[in-house]
């Protein structure tokens, strides 16, 4: 599905599964990844199950706060939140909280297809005037950037793996539908995640 919404930046329209796969491919140190509700966590699942992934099934908007909690508890582990544009719009206040506490090991990634894709492709505010990088910067997240293309996305991920955060990355994505969905097994998801990050015995 084409996304012909006017954007206030020049980044290339990319693909969520492709970018998620590129991200996961760079994770060599058991980094934690929190996938937000719906397509964000479905494509995290489709990029290949990892024990360090938490697939959030409900609680729309809380991928970044959950990732923030993981980052606080385990400051030596790098943590990524994958969130959709509609989800992030539900909980914009968390960006200001994260900016003020400034966890060095946290990266928030927003997949922006300018629509509530899973509920019928209704337009989000980012189809209009909202710009997530400007919002993040305004909240106090100075290290915020649009990924201009796939190579730029990879460069930004490399930067988050090498330096101190918090980081915020926005990627303009298309309307591709995930090929598979995460099993709805919240207790198993939690237990696998806790084993993956060494809280429960393997």
């Amino acid at each position: 599905m084409a996304n012909d919404a006017p954007f206030k930046h020049n980044s290339k329209m990319m693909n969520r599964l492709d970018l998620t796969t590129r991200l996961v491919g760079k994770l060599k140190n058991d980094e934690a990844v929190i996938g937000g509700i719906g397509n964000s966590n479905f494509d995290l699942w489709n990029a290949g199950p990892r024990a360090q992934n938490f697939y959030m099934l409900g609680s729309m908007g809380l991928a970044a706060p959950i990732a923030f909690g993981v980052a606080l508890a385990q400051p030596q582990r790098r943590v990524f939140a994958l969130e959709g544009d509609g989800s992030l719009l539900m909980q914009l206040g968390c960006l200001a909280t994260i900016a003020n506490v400034a966890p060095k090991n946290l990266t928030i990634i927003v997949w922006d297809n300018a629509m509530y894709q899973i509920t019928g492709s209704q337009k989000t505010a980012s189809a209009g005037k909202a710009d997530f990088v400007e919002i993040a910067r305004g909240a106090g997240l100075a290290q915020s950037a649009w990924a201009n293309d796939e190579a730029d996305f990879e460069r930004l991920i490399d930067a988050t793996l090498a330096g101190d955060g918090p980081w915020f990355i926005a990627a303009r994505i298309d309307g591709s539908t995930p090929k598979g969905q995460t099993p709805r097994e919240p207790v198993a998801i939690k237990d696998n995640f806790m084993r993956g990050i060494a809280i429960k015995p393997a």
């Binding site: 909690g69 606080l72 206040g93």
Partner: protein, 183 residues
């Protein structure tokens, strides 16, 4: 008049802090409430705790759930109206995934509160907790405060379930000279 020989009487917020420390609950995330002010003031000036304010209770619960899964015990402080924003997050995250997130709710809207909005929303709190099947206890007496808080925290972690501690005005307003239910 107190002298150096008079045993110091523990205040309610000191009993709560003792229960938090006894159970290594080091993360305290809060949305402010005037009744909770002595507790918030004490926690935010105590290096034992990692403590900060959030914009919204949902966000705070997400942070505490993430921390609880990752080895850091945490609690969310809020007032009654803040709890009313949480049923979806409790149902779909903490209850569904069996995460021992702890809530501490300053009970507003009862026993003389002057705000009708607080009074109405207060009536929804316990029915929501019951509907979610969540363990919840109301602390109304100072001599029970540590016991209830301590045992509730321990059970939450032993049973992998969220739990709520409700602070009654019987506890938090007692002994406050000229106390008027506040904002």
């Amino acid at each position: 008049m107190a002298t150096s020989d008079t045993p110091k009487v523990e205040k309610w917020h000191e009993a709560v802090i003792r229960a938090l420390k006894d159970n290594e609950v080091r993360l305290v995330v809060y949305v402010p409430d005037n009744v909770l002010r002595p507790l918030i003031d004490a926690i935010t000036t105590d290096d034992y705790f990692t403590s900060f304010i959030t914009a919204r209770e949902e966000e705070a619960l997400g942070i505490v759930c993430g921390a609880a899964m990752s080895g850091l015990k945490g609690i969310v402080l809020m007032q009654t109206s803040g709890f009313a924003t949480l049923p979806n997050v409790l149902a779909s995250l903490a209850v569904a995934a069996q995460i021992p997130a702890l809530l501490m709710i300053s009970e507003r809207g009862t026993l003389g509160d002057f705000q009708i909005a607080q009074a109405i929303v207060c009536r929804t709190m316990r029915p929501v907790l019951e509907s979610l099947g969540m363990e919840h206890h109301t602390i109304s007496r100072l001599d029970e405060a540590h016991f209830i808080a301590d045992r509730t925290i321990k059970q939450a972690y032993k049973t992998q379930a969220p739990a709520a501690l409700i602070l009654s005005p019987l506890l938090t307003a007692a002994g406050r000279p000229g106390n008027t239910p506040g904002s």
